[in-house]
């Protein structure tokens, strides 16, 4: 809302500069968003009024705020009218069909007006708040609106068929042209002001072009009504039509200011546009709104909630200045709340009034009540932090992807779009219309972006939520997604970096699980859930305690083609919930540092190619028994130097006994047993 500094001063005198005024009001809760100096030397202030304070949408309301902050006297504009002899009821009839939508409807009639341009002072006033003057009658209704905050509407009485007004819901199929020249199709959702034939205005939102005040208007019907706020809010939203009137009605106007407002406008019309005010007001009110209500305020409660020591006398003074009649009575203050403050219905509301006028700046800001229990990281947070640590340590950058996904990304991975997507009812756009079931598409997009930016090394991970349909609500679980491609390590002037491949990915995962102290993760090529987007020979499924927890591998060339990526990409996605469960509360346990020396032996064997290194290592470990501390593959060869169909593997075996030094004989014995076992099991030859 825009107001004028000088006009406001007519309502209450104060000696603040415009800047001071803006500061004072802002810190009392009436925010001044902007100040503009006008050519006249006046200032236009742009106010942002919170939706709970429709009473501040007028100069009178703002004057009350200023009085509470600064004292002074409010000059209420004159509302006394001089009526003519003609009975208003003989000139117009009002009927209210929808009594809930329109609990009060008042009308006055002014006959014999002369519609013309407004006088200079009136035009200036409207221009000072950014309104365009139209004609004297319309301008007066606007003036009264800004003075008292109550929207009025002036109809050309002679354009209302039957000189009659019916407040009713629109009928299906009805339409009308509003003042802005737009044709509006109406439905029973809308409340209209109709004459005996058709709608003449959309109640509380905008008048109709047809019954508009024009230069030929002689007789004016002035409407001053109270409409149901939610009804106006819905209507304004559905029509996409906001007006000064709808802005106030939807926030809740004062139902008891109707007479004052209509009298003010009628008086000004007869003064400025001539004409005679008919005798009486037509008042069709289905409901009587109380003029005020009583609330009890305990000063002690106010002090405790605000954390400040404010005297009851001061509280009563603040409330009285806000026109909330207050009287101290024993340990309480009795407060009469007038109907223009519908936002005040509880003690807490009054405490806010005291707080904001007393000034939040005056509250102490030091010292926090100590808490008996320290705030701590919970096991789950700690575990997630360890996972992030491990990935960052390994050179991966953490990505935050959007949980909103393009469903076509699902098909772009070669996955059939099943019913397993959680869909939004009102997405912003089709590319953000489902909740992601996987992290991969987001990582792929990010990877693609980085490659397009010319980076030759991409390492990304995301610890993020994925969603699956469920009842009563979709399930949400945490996943880890990894994407890598390009150079393996840093380039330097004497070394060529290697290129990231499957075993780098596997190594990253092995490192991750080692750093999380999780044992028994199995990398299997016997897929339980094959993934169409992975190279079948260069990917694995990860199992933990026999359950699939994810996958890892090289993206299949067909997918890379769809995504238009030239580089080989390595990706993995893991369910973190089972991992976090295992990690929860786990603490590293010390094991004794070996006191006795170990013995190292190498073992080089030839086996048929299909034998996997894991099979061999398992056999070695099993046969080696308790004294085989560790067995590691350190060389693999399958080139021309070995027989076709064979490969050569070399292992380094470490033997150690925890309680004594091993002698050669016992090491030799175990070593020979291992050799024999490998020969029996795989036909391995020793090299």
């Amino acid at each position: 809302m825009k107001i004028s500094y000088n006009w406001l001063k007519e309502f209450i005198d104060f000696n603040w500069s415009v800047k001071e005024l803006a500061g004072k009001l802002t810190f009392a809760g009436v925010e001044i968003e902007g100040i503009e100096e006008l050519p006249s030397g006046d200032f236009q202030l742009d106010l942002e009024i919170t939706p709970n304070r429709p009473d501040c949408l007028s100069l009178l309301g703002l004057a009350r705020e200023i009085r509470a902050l600064n004292g002074g006297q409010i000059n209420v504009p004159g509302c006394q009218v001089t009526e003519g002899p003609q009975d208003v009821n003989s000139l117009a009839k009002i009927e209210v069909e929808d009594k809930q939508g329109c609990p009060r409807y008042l009308a006055r009639v002014i006959t014999g007006v002369k519609v013309a341009e407004s006088p200079e002072w009136l035009k200036k006033k409207l221009e000072s708040i950014g309104l365009r003057p139209i004609n004297n009658v319309a301008d007066i209704t606007n003036l009264a609106l800004y003075e008292f905050g109550h929207p009025l509407h002036a109809f050309d009485l002679d354009k209302l068929s039957g000189h009659k007004i019916i407040v009713r819901r629109a009928k299906a199929g009805e339409a009308m042209v509003t003042l802005d020249g737009t044709e509006r199709k109406l439905t029973p959702e809308y409340l209209v002001i109709a004459d005996s034939n058709r709608p003449a205005a959309i109640a509380g939102i905008m008048g109709g072009l047809e019954s508009e005040i024009s230069s030929t208007t002689k007789n004016v019907l002035l409407e001053s009504a109270y409409f149901d706020p939610p009804l106006i809010r819905r209507g304004s939203r559905d029509l996409g039509l906001k007006s000064d009137a709808s802005y106030r009605f939807e926030r809740g106007a004062d139902p008891n200011i109707l007479e004052q407002a209509v009298n003010r406008a009628a008086r000004l019309i007869s003064e400025i546009a001539g004409g005679q005010i008919a005798k009486g007001i037509i008042d069709v009110s289905a409901k009587k709104f109380p003029a005020d209500w009583e609330l009890k305020l305990r000063p002690e409660k106010a002090c405790s909630l605000l954390g400040a020591d404010i005297k009851p006398e001061k509280m009563a003074e603040i409330l009285n200045a806000l026109e909330l009649k207050s009287k101290i009575s024993g340990n309480a203050i009795n407060v009469q709340v007038p109907s223009f403050r519908a936002d005040l219905s509880r003690e807490a509301d009054l405490i806010e009034e005291i707080g904001r006028i007393y000034g939040y700046d005056n509250l102490p800001a030091e010292g926090i009540t100590p808490w008996p229990v320290p705030g701590v990281q919970r096991p789950r947070e700690k575990a997630v932090e360890k996972i992030v640590d491990s990935m960052v340590f390994q050179g991966f950058c953490q990505h935050y992807g959007l949980p909103l996904m393009d469903p076509s990304h699902y098909t772009k991975l070669g996955l059939a779009r099943e019913d397993n997507l959680v869909e939004l009812d009102n997405p912003l756009s089709s590319d953000l219309s489902v909740l992601r079931p996987v992290l991969l598409p987001g990582l792929l997009e990010a990877g693609q972006r980085n490659l397009n930016n010319g980076l030759n090394r991409v390492r990304l991970f995301e610890c993020g939520l994925v969603f699956a349909p469920g009842k009563p609500a979709p399930s949400e679980s945490l996943k880890l997604g990894i994407l890598a491609c390009g150079e393996r390590e840093n380039q330097s002037w004497d070394r060529k970096p290697g290129i990231f491949d499957f075993f780098d990915l596997k190594g990253a995962l092995e490192f991750l699980f080692e750093s999380l102290k999780i044992k028994g993760v199995c990398y299997s090529q016997n897929y339980k859930n094959p993934k169409p987007f992975l190279h079948p020979g260069r990917s694995v499924e990860l199992l933990l305690d026999g359950a699939v927890i994810g996958w890892a591998g090289e993206l299949d060339a067909s997918v890379l083609k769809v995504w238009d990526i030239k580089e080989k990409l390595y990706c993995s996605e893991l369910e973190l919930e089972p991992v976090l469960k295992l990690m929860a509360g786990a603490v590293s346990q010390f094991s004794e540092i070996p006191k006795f020396p170990g013995v190292k032996r190498d073992l080089a064997i030839m086996v048929p190619r299909p034998v996997t290194s894991r099979e061999i290592l398992e056999a070695v470990t099993k046969t080696g028994g308790a004294i085989l501390e560790r067995a590691e593959l350190f060389d693999l060869y399958a080139g021309d130097q070995v027989e076709k169909g064979q490969k050569s593997l070399a292992f380094s075996l470490s033997y150690r006994h925890p309680e004594r030094t091993l002698n050669d004989a016992e090491v030799n014995q175990v070593h020979q047993e291992i050799v024999k076992a490998l020969k029996d099991k795989f036909g391995a030859g020793i090299r």
């Binding site: 802002t26 810190f27 009392a28 809760g29 709970n52 809010r233 819905r234 909630l305 605000l306 954390g307 509880r346 807490a348 509301d349 405490i351 806010e352 904001r356 939040y360 700046d361 509250l363 102490p364 800001a365 030091e366 009540t369 808490w371 229990v373 705030g375 701590v376 990281q377 919970r378 932090e385 992030v388 960052v392 390994q394 050179g395 991966f396 950058c397 953490q398 990505h399 935050y400 959007l402 949980p403 959680v422 939004l424 009812d425 009102n426 912003l428 990582l443 990010a446 972006r449 980085n450 930016n453 980076l455 390492r459 990304l460 969603f467 609500a473 979709p474 949400e476 840093n490 002037w493």
Partner: protein
């Protein structure tokens, strides 16, 4: 014999001083001090000296032996260090060449700042509470005193799921409701988390963003406590000179409600372009828990009071790190991520 001794001594000293290689020096040691060396031989020939002069002669020979031994050692040290110097010279590097570095990974700036904020609140006794991204209308709105016809609830602003009654939470405040429904007061929690609003993407809006919500409920909790908590937080996060201020505001779930500002981190409150010369930066909203919210979760507002605040994580991260476009956070652009 004494003459012979003196002569050997002179010659030996001369030769040692002129010697230039370690091999030569070793030969000299053998020549003079070896088992059959000249000095050793002198000692053996002591019997040919007159008995009365023997002790004096023996002492002289020993003195010479010690003297030569010292000379040889010193010379050896000199020769050794000279040869090492030459070798080192050959091994020397162009140390101005760049070093080989590891390539570290980087924590996302939002992750970092949330961890920092969480740490500050841990110190005040707040513990993290969580809730799902998909919320019920009840937890996100009704229980927070936001009636069905409230503008925030319309489908222009809030993402709804096809599944009835569910939405993507528009703030972290539903975690307050979940926490209070599941535990009795007192409560001191923070809830960092993702939120969703139906905002089109631009430099200052994303449909997805993060908030940290705080809630403290006990007997006698006051608005002054809220002010102290936010002041402490601002100073811990952005420096001990930070100031905060409250402006009255309106939220359905708090009464009184305020918006709080931080003194401008760029100009220390003097006024600059970023703070539009005001010296202050708008941060977020806060207030005392509305009695209706307490009633909705079964807390007695006559016994308990509490404060709650929200905070936009992206906004604070942008201020702290000087980031000018919110879209960077979600781009996955490594050139952005590696700056933090």
């Amino acid at each position: 014999m004494i003459d012979k001794l003196n002569k050997i001594g002179e010659e030996a000293k001369q030769q040692i001083s002129e010697c230039s290689t370690l091999e030569k020096l070793e030969e000299l040691r053998v020549l003079y001090l070896g088992r059959k060396g000249q000095v050793t031989e002198l000692l053996k020939s002591v019997s040919s000296v007159e008995p009365a002069q023997r002790p004096a002669f023996g002492a002289s020979v020993n003195r010479l032996k010690v003297e030569l031994s010292d000379l040889l050692d010193r010379k050896k040290q000199n020769l050794e260090s000279a040869s090492q110097g030459a070798a080192r010279q050959k091994e020397s590097l162009d140390v101005s060449l760049p070093g080989r570095k590891l390539l570290p990974g980087h924590r996302h700036p939002l992750h970092q700042i949330m961890a920092e904020m969480t740490g500050i609140f841990h110190g005040l006794g707040f513990t993290v509470a969580e809730g799902p991204d998909v919320e019920t209308e009840f937890n996100n709105f009704d229980a927070l005193n936001t009636p069905p016809d409230h503008p925030a609830r319309n489908s222009q602003d809030t993402f709804y799921l096809k599944q009835a009654g569910l939405l993507l939470r528009t703030h972290t405040s539903p975690v307050q409701i979940r926490t209070m429904l599941s535990q009795k007061p007192p409560v001191r929690i923070i809830a960092p988390g993702r939120c969703y609003r139906r905002d089109a993407i631009d430099a200052s809006h994303m449909p997805v963003f993060h908030q940290i919500e705080g809630l403290y409920v006990d007997k006698q909790v006051s608005l002054a406590d809220l002010k102290a908590t936010i002041t402490h937080f601002a100073r811990a996060l952005l420096g001990s000179k930070m100031k905060i201020r409250f402006r009255p505001h309106f939220f359905p779930f708090t009464e009184p409600s305020v918006e709080y500002d931080f003194s401008c981190v760029f100009c220390q409150g003097k006024g600059c372009r970023v703070c539009k010369q005001s010296g202050w930066l708008e941060i977020s909203g806060a207030g005392m828990v509305d009695p209706n919210v307490f009633n909705n979760v079964g807390y007695d507002p006559e016994i308990y009071s509490g404060f709650a605040w929200g905070l936009g994580v992206e906004r604070v991260a942008m201020l702290k790190y000087g980031i000018n476009d919110i879209r960077h956070f979600y781009s996955g652009d490594i050139r952005f991520l590696e700056q933090f």
